[in-house]
Every structure is written in structure tokens, then in C-alpha cells.
Symmetry: C2
Subunit: 337 residues, 2 copies
């Protein structure tokens, strides 16, 4: 059965409902993070965009757990989508667009606490609409136990909506958060999805390079889903952030560290910068649509190092990160070797 998107139109109040959810998600996350941090709180800047729309940017700086955390809500509209998106959705050409979303990047102070990113977004443009986004975890001094718990929590949320979601969106995440020029994944992954419009095909590629090689050729396909199904799934994903991340941050934050660990953390943060500025769709979309630069680049770490020719010493915790954690793994079924 083929369902075309016109059989599956959003409800009349779709924009209002998604926007309200995205704002609530921002509030919920900020509240949870302030409790985690215990020292600093978020300060908010509201902004509007000359071409249409605006947002609320919130940042927590120099906290106890968080060296910097940024949580943004935005709702923007305009006359046309940038070429990079129209290539993927040619039906949107010649139409105005509406987009709303929440995005977050946390840079913890302690190198034993992983950096984490979340973004969920919704687009409407003429005859088409879609949800996208995801979540991924980037440890510096990693623990397999944390990667396992993070992925199991995400899988539980996915499975309650469709059994194909977790395997497909987990794989997509591994392929998306991949630094081709380094031959490394950004971290231990999580979920990534884009252009989810209920038409049934979940993910068609790239499949040609990078981590894809470890996966089978099977491409996830599920029956068509309604707008309501997808919105319910995205809501659940957003609400899974706090239970997936807080236990890890709480457990690792008390770990002692010294200059060696701090230096390695600052060095690895450079990869975050490289990914976001060279590859990240959200960053590029923001810069291409005259988004608010300070809000878009809030994802960049407060302090970063680059070091020419760095390589970890063999048999060190730093080497273990590269050997095991920056390669795709089946975390849900992970067996300590």
C-alpha cells in the first residue's frame, strides 16, 4: 500500500501544538538541568527574526556540573527553504515554510561526564511536512555501562512506538554523526532521524561510507504512520532525554580528574567544533536562513584545544576511546570482553 502525503495532512492546529510541545520541552529540560547543576541557572534571551519568527535562547555558564549548557527554542517562517533542503524535498519549492524546534548542547566541566546533544524539529512547506532530530552522547573518558544504559533507555522509548525505529534511527545516527575527515564517529551515538513524513520509508542512505559498512544492507521500512503517530513519537523522544542523561551525569560528576584528563577533554572538544561547523545540518540551516548566530553557535564549547599530530598512547584510557567508543557498536547487547 502506498499512502501519499495528501492522505495524511496535519491537523488544523499542527503548528500551535508542536510549538507548544517544543517550548514545554525546553522548560522541562532547563528545570532538570538546573537541579542537576545545583549552582547556576539559565539566563534567557528572547529574540525575533526580521524575516519572520523568533525564539528563546537559554544559557547556563560556569556551573558546578555544566561548564556551559545551551537550550534553544525557535519558531521561524519565511518565503523559501534553503537549497540544501529543497534538494531533499523538491515538493516544497515555490512555497513558504514554517519550522519549529528545540535544540540543546551540554558541555560538562568534568571530563568523565559526557557531552550530549538533543534536537527535535518540525517543518511544514506547501504540501509537505516532516519531523526530524535526534540525540547523541559524546564521552571523553567513556564507560560501556553508560553507553548501554543510554541506548537501552532510547530503545525502550522507540519500541513503544515501532520495533523498526530503534535499529534504523540508531544506525542513521552512527552514519550522521561521523567525521569523514577523521574516520571517527562523534561519540557513542543515539538516535537520528530526518524527513519523517509518515510515508513509510524511514531511511534510504548514505550507506556508502563510514560506519555503514558494519551494518547489513537491510533498509528499515515500516508501514505508513499518521501525523499523530509521529508527533507522539517525537514527544516521547524529547521526554526521554532527562531519564537517559541525568543518571550518567550524576554518577560521573564526582569522579576525580587532573590536568591530563582536562587537556584531553579540551582536545576532543575540537571534534565537536569540526563536526558542527563542517557537517551539521542544523547549524548550516541556521546560518543559511539568517538565524541568530549567537544561538546557533551556542553549541560550540567554551574552551577548546587543537594539537597537531596528537595520537593517544597505546593501552591508555584515551586509546580506549578511539578503539572502542568512536566505532559503531551494538550497545544494547554489549558484552564486556
Amino acid at each position: 500500500m502506498t499512502v501519499t502525503q495528501t492522505d495524511n495532512v496535519p491537523p488544523a492546529d499542527s503548528r500551535e501544538r508542536v510549538k507548544q510541545f517544543m517550548q514545554d520541552l525546553q522548560d522541562e529540560i532547563c528545570n532538570g538541568l538546573e537541579k542537576l547543576d545545583g549552582k547556576e541557572t539559565f539566563r534567557e534571551d528572547s529574540w525575533s527574526r526580521p524575516e519572520g519568527g523568533g525564539g528563546r535562547s537559554r544559557v547556563l555558564q560556569e556551573g558546578n556540573v555544566l561548564e556551559q549548557g545551551g537550550v534553544n527554542f525557535s519558531e521561524v517562517w519565511g518565503e523559501k527553504l534553503p537549497p540544501s533542503i529543497l534538494q531533499q524535498r523538491p515538493e516544497a519549492a515555490g512555497h513558504g515554510f514554517y519550522a519549529t524546534g528545540t535544540s540543546m548542547v551540554l558541555h560538562p566541566r568534568n571530563p568523565f561526564v559526557p557531552t550530549v546533544h538533543l534536537n527535535y524539529r518540525y517543518f511544514e512547506a506547501g504540501p509537505v511536512w516532516w519531523f526530524g532530530g535526534g540525540i547523541d552522547l559524546t564521552p571523553y573518558y567513556p564507560f560501556a555501562e553508560d553507553a548501554v544504559n543510554f541506548h537501552r533507555t532510547l530503545k525502550q522509548t522507540c519500541d513503544s512506538h515501532h520495533e523498526e525505529y530503534y535499529p534504523v534511527f540508531k544506525r542513521w545516527c552512527d552514519e550522521y554523526f561521523y567525521l569523514k575527515h577523521r574516520g571517527e564517529m562523534r561519540g557513542v551515538g543515539g538516535l537520528f532521524l530526518d524527513y519523517q513524513d509518515g510515508r513509510g520509508a524511514l531511511y534510504r542512505g548514505p550507506h556508502q561510507e563510514g560506519p555503514a559498512a558494519i551494518y547489513s544492507d537491510k533498509i528499515g521500512e515500516i508501514p505508513p504512520r499518521s501525523w499523530e503517530d509521529l508527533f507522539a513519537f517525537i514527544k516521547d523522544c524529547g521526554q526521554t532525554f532527562l531519564p537517559a542523561y541525568l543518571p550518567i551525569a550524576e554518577k560521573r560528576h564526582p569522579t576525580q580528574y587532573g590536568e591530563r584528563e582536562r587537556n584531553f577533554q579540551l582536545y576532543r572538544r575540537g571534534r565537536y567544533v569540526e563536526f558542527n561547523l563542517v557537517y551539521d545540518r542544523g547549524t548550516i540551516f541556521g546560518l543559511q536562513t539568517n538565524g541568530r548566530t549567537e544561538s546557533i553557535l551556542m553549541s560550540l564549547p567554551p574552551l577548546v584545544r587543537w594539537e597537531y599530530g596528537y595520537q593517544p598512547e597505546p593501552n591508555t584510557p584515551e586509546a580506549k576511546l578511539y578503539e572502542t567508543f568512536l566505532k559503531p557498536q551494538d550497545w544494547v547487547n554489549w558484552q564486556p570482553s
Copy 2:
């Protein structure tokens, strides 16, 4: 008169001669910088590229004047140029290519010493060939006198080859080293040129945004130039680096500075990262052609800060940088106000 490029073919030993010059330039610059630094020397990594060619990467770290300096020579060839270049030179489609060049970025320790970048490069691909590159200066705590001297030295070199070179390449530099998402130039500019093949037209745009607005509509045009003319010009440009930069570094290095100046330097270095990863042609070409990542990203600073929402206080030296030095100026004829 229209001269087609086939009237103006490179000599039989063009690649060998340009390559030799690029290597000599690397040697000359490294020698000059070691004398300037007085403490550390360059260490060299030679590398080869599976698809063809290789290079010598040299880095000086933790020096007296230079916190980090990278000077690269490379010579690469392959079956096809990346799409970004073929768009500009469609005649090269279906042909193999040869490229050689020298590039350099210096990140001084003292915030009163400007960062500087140089790159000169030569391409051959089927029926076409061209020279490109440039030099630009990025001060943190700027002195008009330094910008004036830097530009006058460059102009002198340009004028000895053609009177249109300096005004056109200076303007092109202002337009190229422009961070659109910040509305800022990278620094006080210098020279930039690309696709110089002797066919007479120097620069056709962008002219539509950014600093271009201050310039007249006149587009620089010069009579056709031979391969030998252009090579001689590029050689002179390369050899102008030491006399243009060393006096500035020597003069400013003894200046006292504290935490405030260091913090501002680290913050402004973030703009260097943003430019190189989002806009720079050389970086993108390198990453697209499977270049040696460590050599390409040697341009990134050893330590960098990002700070959400930073703005300089009015009437401070930091504010002066933004107000005067990150906007296009006629430095050669600069009058203190």
C-alpha cells in the same frame, strides 16, 4: 583583444619550476620564523597521499613568539577535481589535475602580535591552469600603523607587476575573508586572488554583499598576461611575506599583556576557526580531496574560547577592533582621525 588560454600554454617544465619555488618558499619562511622566534624550531613530517602526491608539513609549537606556527608544502595529483572547482573551471571536467602550493598560519602567543595567513597555489587540469592564493593579517589589539605598513609593502610588490593588481586583489581579499554570519571581516585583509590564468579578467564578483558595498562598481581588468608574468608575480608575493610581517611581530612582541588581553585573543581566535571550517576554499578542497587532515587543520589555533553573547564594552581597545579594523579600510592612504 581576446587571448584564449591555448595561446598561452605553460612551459614544458611548469610543474617542476612551480613546485621548486613552493618548496623554496617554505624553507625561506621557516628560516625567517625560526630567527624571529629565537626559541623553538620547526619539526617536519613528510607524507604521501594514496591517490597521488604528498607533502612536507612543518610545525613550530610552544615557541617564544609563536604559540603555534604551521607551514605546509604539498604537491598532489588525481583523476578529477572536486565539484566546487569544476563549477568555476568547467573546461577541467574529464581531465586529471595537478596542484602544488605552500600555506602557512601563525598563531602568536602575545595578543598584540597579529595572526597571519599565507597561501600560494598553482593548478593544471587538462587545457586550463591557474594561480591563486593570498595573504591576510588578523590583529587582536590592532595598530593602524601596522595595517598601513603591511598594506604598503604588499602594494609595492603588486605595483611592480601591474598597477591594477593591488586595488583588485586587496578588494577581493576583503570580500573573501568575510564572515557573513558575523557581519565581520576576519582582520585587516591583504591580498587574495584565484583562477588567475592570464586571460585578462581579474575578478568578477561576488560584489553583492558584505564589504563589497564600500567599493565602486568598477571591476579590475588588465590586459592578458603570460604564464611567466603570473609566475613572477606569485614568486614576488611569496617573498614579500617576511618583510611584510617580521617588523610587526618584532615590534609588538615585547608588549606587556595580562589575562584580559589573553582572554580576548582566545575568543577572537574562534572567528579564525569559524572562517576556516565554514568558508575557506583551501580547507574545503583539502578535506574534499582526501588531503592529510592534520596538515589541513594545522591552521586551527592551539587554544580557543567561545563565549555566548560576548560584546566589547564601548570605548575599549576591544571595541576599537570591531569598529575600525574589522571593516574595510583604505589602509595605504590611512589618515589618523
